[in-house]
Each structure stands twice: as structure tokens, then as C-alpha cells.
Amino acid sequence: MALVKRFTQFVEPPSGGGAGGASNGQQTNSIPKIETRGMSFFYGTKQALYDINLQIQSRAVTALIGPSGCGKSTYLRSLNRMNDIIEGTRVTGEVLLDGEDIYSRDVDVVSLRKRVGMVFQKSTPFPKSIFDNIAFGPRITGLTKKSELQNIVERCLKQSALWNEVKDRLKDSAMALSGGQQQRLCIARALATNPEVLLMDEPASALDPASTARIEDLIFELKQNYTIVIVTHNMQQAARISEVTAFFCVGRLVEIGQTKQLFTNPTQKETEDYITGRFG
């Protein structure tokens, strides 16, 4: 695989990335959107995460990288309590969203997940029409007015760069879309509940290069308004789209830093071995 040098070329801010560079500077001072303090995670008796201390900056992309089974997906899923669905899981420590512990007893999981949306590796359109897919989130919150739903659907499809391709067939089944379109539909669906944070679990790993590029462009657009946390196996992708990168290994957070810094000048030996392709 490539040398450290190879990654540096991806780290250069893309054209028009001046704003991104400026926001990089601000982040270190701003209050984190999400913060985990001494967080550990257990599947039954098996511990999957050990004492994670991590801050996620607002309106930026944080990439989680690491070898398979390192706990990065588990960490991501614990940020909107998706792991609650799996029986026998347990969290210790604190996960704070805007300073509020999401694992405290009086937290309503449903409203938490409306604020922290999620996009999965496999696109999962509901077997309904394109319109009904996007309108699903607003509808379960009780919105029934057709005109409002139409506005939301149009806004979200435009945000996810899918509007021009589907505007004439909103009534068609979402299952008929291509893989890349389905994934953008899922992003649009997640946006429809007006989340503040968007969690993405390898959103482009099942897509062809052209669709991947579209998703990456989309992420680049979305970070103007949303806080994005993305798990990826593709290190070039992490380098291209993220401001901050966190490297996980066997359930521990090994290193976190500005993406450029981490890829060009990692402080830990493990990180360097991983990003230069010596293991993982």
C-alpha cells in the first residue's frame, strides 16, 4: 500500500475549501457538539469499547477509522443509542449531546434519534414510494398537512442532490432506484426529521466510484449545516472529506487529531502502521 506521503495529496483542501480551512481554525475553540467521557461499551460480558474520551465538533466532519472489529461502528451507534435495540448491551461513562447526557434515565430515546439521525452502510429504502420514504420521519411526528410534507420532501431531495433525478416520479417505488440513488434517498430521509447530527456508517462502501464521489460531494455540502460523524474503511475518503479523524484499534481510541495532521504526522506508532497499510 501507499506511503504516508501518498495521503497528503488528498488532504489538501479541495477547490473552494478556503472556508473549510477557516472553520478548522475555529473548531478547536468552540464547544463540542458531542462529547464522550470515559465511555465503555459492553455486549453482554464482552467489552467492545474501553474508556473513550472524544469530542466531536459542530458543523464539521469527524471520521472514525480503524481496522474491522475495532469498535468504531459500535461507537457511532452508541451516539444515538441504536445499540439499545440489541439485547444485553450496556454503556458506562458519559455521552453528552450539547452537554446533556443521552444515557441518563430521563432521556427520551425517540426525540434523541430525531436530533441525531443515521445513515447505514446498506441503503435501506422502505418498500414505499419515494415521497412516502422521505415523509416517513415527519409523519411519525404527527405532520399530516400535504403541502408541508411536499415542501419537506422537495427540500430534502434537493439537499441530497436527488431532486432532479426523481422529481417527476415521486410516486414510484423507492426500490426501483439505483444503489447510489437509494443511498442518497436514505440521506434525504434522515434529513427530513431536521437532525442536528448525522451519523454515517460506511455510507459509500457498497457503491461504485461515481456514486461514492456524489455522496462525498454531498457530505461536503451538508457539513455547512450539520455535524457529521462518519465511519469509513477508505482512508482516502477520510482524508478527502473530514476535518478531524479518530483512529480506533481493538476497542480503544488510539489517536485523534486534525485530519491533515493525523495522516501526515501521526503521533502513535499504531496509527502510522495502519494508515501506511502495514496492518489492518
Binding site: N80, M82, I85, E87, V110, S111, R113, K114, G117, M118, F120, K122, T124, F126, P127, K128, F136, G137, I140, T141, M175, C186, R189, A190, A192, T193
Partner: protein
């Protein structure tokens, strides 16, 4: 296997097929398995043969039922009295069809929603621990002989529930044998079937859809009612059809609890006659061989056979199409 071993040594010199015990045994096993499956096809074919020759086209000099009774009378006449004297004999299947529909309808109202709700509970809500209790309980329900259900309806449901409610309280006329009691127990009988078939269908909805639902802020009810059930709808529909075809074919419980005179009525509190119960009724008495009464059994059986077969075929077609979506 010594013969196999020597054969292998020979085969290395030539690829020509020669007789070997190993291959002979393989072919024997294959033909044996084929015979077994062919036997079940043969059974179906002979049933169709008997039904058709007795009711539609007979081999001369015999005559078939429809050569003695017109199709028009059979499907439009409103009286079914093949056991009466010649002057009062009528062969209109409508009362039997109506009775069957009444039983099936009542059982559907009881069995389908209950079965579906149990399926949703088992697939979406139940913890593994409660599943371990509920599933065997359902299997017990499915294993109760239908005769027992019939007596349960006749001896418990009618005198203890239906008569106190409809007669004593509402002042309606209730017969000791009534369609309602039979329909209710047939409904109870199909619950395990609907529950287990629908549960399979619900479980085959991929978990990723549920997770996506939860990630959008859905409650468990939202996910079950607005994602899982709609996604599984065609499969649920197929399980309903299979259960209804069981209701239509159900015999003993109805014969005991509801069957009497073939009234053309939709009143569930009076006695009715279903297609199956009529067949039981006639075969219990003395039937002159070759009589029109005997042939009428086959005509009724043919109608029954065609109806249930159509429903099974449709439901299998729907299930097959449903499976394609999530393979």
C-alpha cells in the same frame, strides 16, 4: 466400498461408462425417491379423476351428477334437499356455499386479526423468554383434535356464552346448533396457523429496515405498524388465504357445533349446513350406491376442491412474489 475402489482403478484407464454397483445403487436411490414424490402426485390425480368422473363426465353406461342435474339448477336453486322424496328433491348448492361462507366469515373475523396480532407480538415485541412460552402454547392449540373443538363449541360456547348473551340478554332466538359457535371455534383453530405463517413473513423483513425506522425516531409501534407490517403485507395476505382455505375445509367442529338443516341464511344464530358437514352427514347414513344423492357428494366435493385449490395456488403465488423482494 471395495467395488467402488476397483472401479476407480479401472476408470483411470478408461472414461467409458461401465456397470458398477456404486452407480446402480445411486440410480436405485434416485428412482426410489422419485417414486415417493410421484405417489403424492398420483394421489392428487386419482382424487381429481374420481371427482370428475362422478360429477362431470362419467364413463358410460354410468351417468355423472351433472348429466342428471343441470348446472343451472345446481348454481341458482336456493334449496338443497337431495335426501328428500323425489317430488321435493332440490339440488341447489347455494345454501351449502352460504353456510360455508358464514362459518369462514366468522372464523376470519376471530382468527385473522388475533393471529396477526400474535405474530406481531412474537416477531417484534416478545423477549426470547416469552417466545419460549407462547410458541409451544400455540402449538398445543394447533394440536387439539378438531372434534374436541366441536364439543367445546356445542357444550360450552353455545350454552355458557352465546345463549346467555344473545338469548337471555338480547332476547334473540338461538338454536342449540348455530353457525356462530362453529365459526368461533374454527377461528380459534386457524389462529396458530395465521400466527406462525405471518410470524415467518414478518421475521423475514430485513432488520436494516427496522433500524432505519428507529434511527428516524420511530417508536416500536411505528416500526411494527408502519414499516414491518406494510413491508410484509403480501406475505400476510398469503397466510390469510391459506388459513381461510383451512376454514372452508374444516369439517368435524362445524358438523358437531353448527350443522343441521341447509338454511339459506346469514343469521349466525341458526343452524346451517356447510359443504363439508353435508358430506359427513350423508356418508353417516345409508346411501344407495349409484344414486343421485351419492353423486351429489362428489359434486359438492369438487366445488370444495376447486375453491381451496384456487386459494392455495393464489397464496403460494403471492408468497413466491413476496420472497423475491427481499432475497
Amino acid at each position: 466400498m471395495p467395488s467402488g475402489g476397483s472401479n476407480q482403478a479401472e476408470a483411470s484407464s478408461s472414461l467409458r461408462r461401465r456397470f458398477s454397483w456404486l452407480r446402480a445403487r445411486e440410480q436405485l436411490i434416485q428412482s426410489l425417491l422419485f417414486c415417493c414424490s410421484f405417489l403424492s402426485i398420483l394421489t392428487t390425480l386419482s382424487i381429481i379423476y374420481v371427482l370428475v368422473t362422478e360429477s362431470l363426465i362419467a364413463i358410460p353406461p354410468n351417468t355423472a351428477f351433472f348429466q342428471e342435474v343441470g348446472l343451472k339448477e345446481f348454481f341458482t336453486e336456493t334449496r338443497w334437499t337431495p335426501q328428500y322424496d323425489v317430488a321435493q328433491r332440490h339440488y341447489g348448492i347455494l345454501p351449502l356455499v352460504c353456510g360455508t361462507m358464514l362459518i369462514t366469515g366468522i372464523s376470519a373475523v376471530i382468527g385473522l386479526p388475533m393471529g396477526l396480532l400474535i405474530a406481531i407480538y412474537l416477531s417484534e415485541y416478545a423477549s426470547p423468554k416469552s417466545r419460549r412460552w407462547v410458541k409451544p402454547a400455540l402449538e398445543i392449540l394447533a394440536g387439539v383434535p378438531t372434534v374436541v373443538y366441536g364439543y367445546f363449541a356445542l357444550r360450552f360456547l353455545t350454552p355458557m356464552v352465546i345463549i346467555p348473551f344473545f338469548h337471555d340478554w338480547l332476547g334473540l332466538t338461538v338454536l342449540g346448533k348455530n353457525a356462530l359457535s362453529g365459526g368461533i371455534v374454527v377461528g380459534l383453530m386457524i389462529i396458530p396457523m395465521v400466527a406462525s405463517l405471518s410470524e415467518d413473513v414478518l421475521r423475514s423483513v430485513p432488520n436494516s429496515l427496522r433500524e432505519s425506522g428507529y434511527a428516524l425516531g420511530s417508536t416500536k409501534f411505528d416500526v411494527s405498524a408502519k414499516i414491518v407490517v406494510p413491508a410484509a403485507l403480501s406475505g400476510i395476505f398469503a397466510s390469510f388465504l391459506l388459513a381461510l382455505s383451512r376454514s372452508i375445509g374444516e369439517t368435524m367442529a362445524v358438523a358437531i357445533a353448527s350443522a343441521g338443516f341447509p338454511n339459506l341464511t346469514l343469521n349466525p344464530l341458526t343452524q346451517i349446513q356447510t359443504m363439508t358437514a353435508f358430506i359427513v352427514d350423508v356418508t353417516q347414513g345409508e346411501v344407495v350406491s349409484g344414486s343421485t344423492l351419492e353423486k351429489s357428494l362428489y359434486a359438492v366435493a369438487l366445488v370444495l376442491f376447486v375453491t381451496t385449490m384456487m386459494m392455495n395456488l393464489i397464496s403460494q403465488w403471492v408468497l413466491a412474489r413476496y420472497r423475491e423482494v427481499y432475497q
